[in-house]
Symmetry: C2
Subunit: 316 residues, 2 copies
């Protein structure tokens, strides 16, 4: 499958999160020789037998290519994962992540795990944690070096992260449970009932009305606007089918509003994440007159390669 003369395998890189597991076989300069995805996030691994999943996933790569270093980021290093990799504390020098890898003695080759980052409370900040995003941020800065001195990385998802960068350090971050809030409200609250189980194409107008409503509600926040998902429908302003997109707009709009409170000026900004979701966020940013929000693809893989280089797992 791979052309060994051009692409000698150098690293097995894993992004092992809560609900999915992605793995890459990488060559000399981090090029992808092979890639795999498994629905084996840490919540889907029976009896916590991560060793078996790992062996099964990468065994044949080792059989074909011989022993290779392996490096993982994400929830696999959490208390509920394979083994706990102690948090690095924020503000965190991104270059320092490579010095704090946890080594798991695994078969067929040891697995190194990137630590998460913890923000201790204080100075107006709430405590917060990330695992996996620190690697994506590092990868994104490899692709967008202009943000390393001052930048903001937005990682939309179940638990969105807004990560501030200054002087190549991760200086602070906030988690927004936007994706999970949407899912539980859609499935389990009165707001989800009118649209039933139907999946409809995105209603852009309803989504943008939600974003605008969150923006205009301002300081009162999502608490004061959430019920409008229902009352706008009762008042005939949106259809039952449009309520999920309106709700999505409300929640993402409030995330943008909240995350930009107190920012005199928007720092250089990039998105990291699922393409369709990034497009949705880009549409929301446009309603806030923020237009320069390019997406950085492959951030986890890029970050894993950089950390492997810095840790000496692969030759620089």
């Amino acid at each position: 499958m791979d052309d060994k003369s051009a692409n000698t395998a150098r690293l097995i890189a894993l992004d092992w999160g809560t609900s999915s597991l992605r793995a890459w076989l990488l060559a000399d300069a981090g090029e992808v020789i092979d890639a795999r995805t498994a629905r084996r996030g840490i919540m889907q691994v029976e009896d916590g037998d991560f060793a078996a999943v790992y062996r099964e996933l990468i065994g044949d790569w080792i059989s074909v290519h011989g022993d290779l270093p392996a490096l993982a980021c994400g929830m696999i290093g959490s208390r509920g994962g394979w083994a706990e990799a102690a948090y690095v504390h924020c503000p965190a020098a991104l270059a320092g992540l490579a010095d704090r890898l946890l080594k798991i003695d695994a078969d067929p080759v040891p697995l190194h795990v990137v630590p998460g980052v913890m923000q201790a409370p204080g100075g107006g900040a709430l405590p917060d944690v990330m695992r996996g995003e620190e690697t994506q941020v590092l990868g994104a800065l490899a692709a967008a070096a202009e943000l390393a001195e001052r930048g903001l990385l937005v990682l939309p998802g179940t638990h969105s992260k807004w990560v501030h960068i200054a002087d190549r350090r991760l200086t602070g971050f906030t988690t927004y449970m936007t994706g999970e809030l949407f899912a539980v409200l859609r499935k389990h609250s009165i707001l989800g009932k009118p649209a039933g189980d139907r999946e409809a194409p995105t209603d852009t107008a309803a989504f943008e009305l939600g974003v605008d409503t969150a923006r205009e509600t301002g300081e009162a926040g999502i608490a004061a606007a959430l019920f409008s998902t229902r009352s706008r429908m009762l008042a005939g302003e949106i259809t039952a089918e449009a309520t999920p997109d309106y709700l999505s707009g409300l929640l993402i709009g409030d995330e943008l509003r909240s995350a930009t409170v107190g920012l005199d000026q928007m720092p250089p900004l990039r998105l990291i994440g699922d393409e369709a979701l990034c497009a949705r966020y880009r549409r929301a940013f446009a309603r806030f007159d923020v237009e320069d929000v390019a997406e950085i693809p492959d951030a986890a893989r890029l970050g894993l390669w950089r950390i492997a280089e810095a840790a000496g797992l692969v030759a620089v």
Copy 2:
């Protein structure tokens, strides 16, 4: 059962909501002769056979006391209820509710239904709706006449309402889905997992930490603070058992913060609702240095009696 010489039955009053149905047999000045509660909210009535529930609930009262007028408030007058009582529009003269009753031709006696109130969008307000709370507000003002010129009534619950009164009119209101948000997050989100299904006595310190956190998070709002339910636990600041009370404090605290944005001065304030929940809100208000938050009991019954008087269903 009742002493007819002292207490001639005059009215059957019903508070018929989403999840419960309360009924009173009232005498000359609105005194309670008999009271009943049934788990027959409109969501619990099979096949929408409200007529059967109604007949069964009040049939013997009519048998004993002869024909009486009957008046109901609440979701029974919604589209998903027995028959839809058209909304009165906000700002609404509370005295005018009595002129807009819907009469349902029912057995054994007709049932009159109080209309809900709709707030049309505009002037910075989102559309909003209430059914049942308008009657409680009217009843509360009968008990606390000093608020009729200017006041704020807070009705905590699944969908809390904050209702502004000026010049005996309901001038505006906002719905907060605080109770439902708590329930779905507790049961279906990652925030509810650490405490499992255990019911623990209230952890007042954790609740107050949640309220304080919401207050201090300020304009950034609940979106920026919600995940701290988890991260404070991971950081060892609260126990797993305390997370539900912390979450409750966060949500109620953000409701208070949001609802008081832009208020130069707190209007005279009263609580209406479940005693334990009102106590929880009173504790939260105290963290905002608002101390005068007495509770008005029996507001629905008082309101139904007043509306029956104004509509001529009972002699004044």
